[in-house]
């Protein structure tokens, strides 16, 4: 098998993932001349919650966005290395980023529903994917999975902007779930929300991980500890340490991880 350059033994990953959905190999990303990701190599396990933590500006969002090629939308971005999704390098020439994004959904830091009705928000992904089943039923299914159905079932045609922040974020999750992605990438999904809305989303993540793989970026270390199975610590564009969450929080190997967890920087 050509391509998978570095073996895991050389990396910061302290454990072997049996069932990796992503195998990331020496991924480097540049914005114009600035290198933002440096030789990231790690495996992300399927149907688990993987959290990415690290100080601001260390490249967490960039890393997350390179998993579904959202970075391609940024002018001046250049990526090197490989990201194998179910064994297939998504940065290979023959791969279409649009197809990648159909399988790997994303939820953003600030809730960003479309300026349309609640129903249309969820239905959009289905429509463009050529869904030809029962649209209403599918929308309901997605809203239910995002634990939003009960709150909006009477006002599906209201503008999505009229929902509260937490509801909007769950709507965005429902929107992503509607197309049944295999992975859900979440970039600080709770940072714009109050504690109650945050708790709801965390519960939701717990529910969802039975069916989808979740990679979540968070600034909140308690949150990472609460919801994730594995945690990666990033620093200046590198993954310094990647371990099961319990292990990373209790026995960090890297002194920088320890310092960060102790709140000495970031």
């Amino acid at each position: 098998m050509k391509g998978k350059g570095a073996s895991l033994a050389e990396t910061t990953q302290s454990f072997l993932v049996e069932n990796p959905i992503f195998e990331i190999r020496q991924l480097s990303v540049w914005y114009k001349a600035q290198q933002v990701l440096k030789d990231v190599t790690m495996d992300i396990p399927e149907k688990q919650v993987t959290a990415i933590i690290g100080p601001s500006g260390c490249g967490k969002s960039t890393f997350l966005r390179s998993l579904n090629r959202m970075n391609d939308l940024i002018p001046g971005m250049r990526a090197e290395g490989q990201v194998f999704f179910r064994g297939l390098n998504i940065y290979a020439r023959s791969v279409d980023p649009v197809e990648v994004r159909r399988r790997i959904g994303m939820v953003f830091q600030v809730p960003n529903p479309f300026p349309k009705s609640i129903f249309e928000n969820v239905a959009f992904g289905l429509r463009i994917n050529g869904f030809n089943g029962d649209l209403k039923a599918k929308v309901q299914w997605a809203l239910e999975r995002a634990a939003l159905w009960d709150e909006v079932k009477h006002c599906l045609h209201k503008s999505a902007f009229e929902l509260s922040g937490g509801q909007q974020q769950r709507l965005c999750i429902a929107r992503a779930l509607a197309v049944e992605p295999e992975v859900l990438l979440m970039d600080e999904p709770c940072s714009a929300l109050d504690p109650i809305a945050t708790a709801k989303i965390e519960d939701l993540i717990h529910e969802l991980k039975r069916e989808v793989t979740i990679v979540i970026v968070t600034h909140n270390m308690q949150q990472a500890a609460r919801i994730s199975d594995y945690t990666a610590f990033m620093f200046l564009g590198e993954v310094l340490e990647f371990a099961p969450t319990g292990l990373l929080f209790t026995k960090p190997k890297d002194p920088k991880t320890e310092a960060y967890l102790a709140g000495r920087f970031g």
């Binding site: 579904n68 959202m70 939308l73 002018p75 001046g76 649009v98 197809e99 994004r101 159909r102 399988r103 959904g105 994303m106 953003f108 600030v110 960003n112 529903p113 479309f114 300026p115 959009f124 992904g125 463009i128 994917n129 902007f161 965005c172 929107r175 992503a176 197309v179």
Partner: protein, 472 residues
């Protein structure tokens, strides 16, 4: 102490800045007000035209009297009110409603001042009606000299009333020696214009000198209707006679403008939106795109004369489209396209990045992102820009002036290959005409142009305020 000095300076500056804006607005206000004032004569002109009269200015330069202008009836419609009271082409109108008039502007001014209803018109019949045909005959007694004689006196004419007979030789009219047939009559007009009711004549009949007096002025009443809306309606809906301001109309220019702008829109809208979408949504951000952007900004600032030369050379001459509506539309399109691209890009840029990202993260292709999100959300902005572009196109004259759009068009263009004129060019033509009345119709056409401009701009502002999305 020092404090108050600084404060005073600051206040003075504030006042200065305020007055800067006020002065600017004042100048522009004056412009619109004076134009409206100029157009005010339209109703009176129309009243005159409705009575069947078209006027034109003549002047005489007689030794001893100097330069005098007078108004002749250049056309009198059959069966019109004017024809019924006996006026015919060539008669001279000397007073309206008791006011002496020496040029068409004064006639219309008098009609306007007089108001609705019948007004007395004082006029001098043309020579044939006044004293029949005059003849210059050689004097047998003095070789090489001519004298002017009357040949036949029309029955019931003013000459008959004065006692003139066929064969009489006109020696002087109003103390001016008669030197020619036309001059004799002009001397009558000049005498009346200088205030005489009775024109003294000296004639020679059978070798004897006689003094007679001629009352050349006839007075008749003509009913005038000052019909504001009718006047405007007729002005806007007729092609009219381009020679006379009171009979000319704006119709062919209006139709020409609509057609040309229509052709322009047909090209500009798809091309402009397409180019903007490419530059904003598809183009890689590199030096080439940047260069294209600068080119477009520069095209937008290109003087309209340059665009006109391009249209003239490429569309009219090379492509053989001539001075047609089609060539005009293309030339205008060239001028408006860059502006549309810039406005559309701004509208597209107002759609936040996250909308594109959210759609793309659901697996939308670039086209789906544009088609289902960016374009629909940017549509009000695009429309606003487009309406403003239409407004600009309707007022643009220079490129089509160069293209050689006809200034006299006495027909409505029916196909894209017909020649045409447009409202601003019609204004240009009228404004440069020296005859009385044309500046009034030019002003009236300007009012039409400004109202259209304001209406389109208000619509654009309304659209922008009403449909502008707030991205929260």
């Amino acid at each position: 102490m020092r404090r108050s000095w600084r404060k005073g300076l600051g206040n003075a500056f504030g006042v200065l800045a305020t007055s800067g804006l006020l002065l600017a607005l004042l100048a522009l206000g004056t412009m619109i007000a004076t134009t409206a004032l100029q157009a005010g004569k339209l109703t009176a002109m129309d009243a005159m035209a409705q009575a069947g009269l078209a006027l034109s200015l003549r002047s005489v330069d007689l030794p001893g009297l100097g330069f005098l202008s007078y108004v002749v009836a250049a056309q009198v419609d059959a069966n019109s009110a004017a024809a019924q009271v006996g006026l015919s082409q060539g008669d001279v109108i000397v007073a309206v409603g008791g006011r002496p008039v020496g040029r068409p502007n004064e006639v219309w001014g008098a009609v306007k001042a007089r108001g609705e209803g019948p007004a007395t018109i004082a006029w001098i019949p043309k020579p044939e009606k006044l004293w029949g045909r005059l003849q210059a005959v050689a004097r047998p007694e003095r070789a090489g000299e001519f004298c002017v004689t009357l040949t036949s006196i029309p029955a019931g004419s003013k000459a008959q009333e004065a006692g003139l007979q066929p064969g009489d030789v006109l020696i002087s009219v109003g103390d001016l020696p008669v030197t020619g047939t036309r001059q004799a009559w002009e001397a009558v007009v000049a005498a009346v214009r200088s205030g005489l009711e009775e024109v003294p004549l000296e004639i020679e009949r059978e070798g004897k000198r006689l003094k007679l007096s001629l009352h050349p002025v006839q007075r008749t009443e003509i009913p005038f209707q000052l019909d504001f809306f009718g006047a405007w309606w007729r002005f806007l809906t007729r092609i009219g006679d381009p020679r006379y301001p009171e009979r000319t109309g704006l119709l062919s220019a209006l139709v020409g403008s609509l057609l040309v702008v229509g052709v322009m829109a047909l090209f500009v809208f798809p091309l402009g939106v397409g180019a903007a979408v490419y530059l904003e949504e598809y183009a890689p951000k590199n030096w080439f795109t940047e260069a294209v952007q600068i080119l477009i900004a520069n095209l937008a600032g290109m003087p309209s004369a340059v665009v006109g030369i391009f249209g003239l050379e490429i569309f009219a001459r090379s492509w053989g489209l001539g001075r047609s509506v089609f060539a005009g539309g293309l030339t205008l399109a060239l001028l408006i396209l860059p502006q549309t691209i810039i406005a559309t890009r701004e509208a597209l840029r107002a759609v936040p990045r996250w909308v594109r990202e959210a759609a793309a993260s659901l697996g939308a292709t670039p086209w789906q992102v544009v088609r289902f999100h960016v374009l629909p959300y940017a549509l009000p902005g695009i429309f606003t820009g487009f309406i403003l572009a239409l407004a600009r196109a309707l007022g643009e004259a220079a490129p089509l002036l160069l293209l050689g759009a006809f200034l006299y068009v006495t027909f409505v263009p029916k196909s894209l290959m017909d020649s045409f004129t447009i409202v601003p060019l019609q204004i240009f033509d009228w404004a440069t005409k020296p005859q009385d009345g044309f500046s009034c119709v030019a002003a009236a056409a300007i009012i039409v142009l400004i109202i259209t401009h304001l209406a389109l701009n208000s619509l654009a502002i309304f659209l922008r305020n009403r449909y502008q999305r707030r991205w929260t």
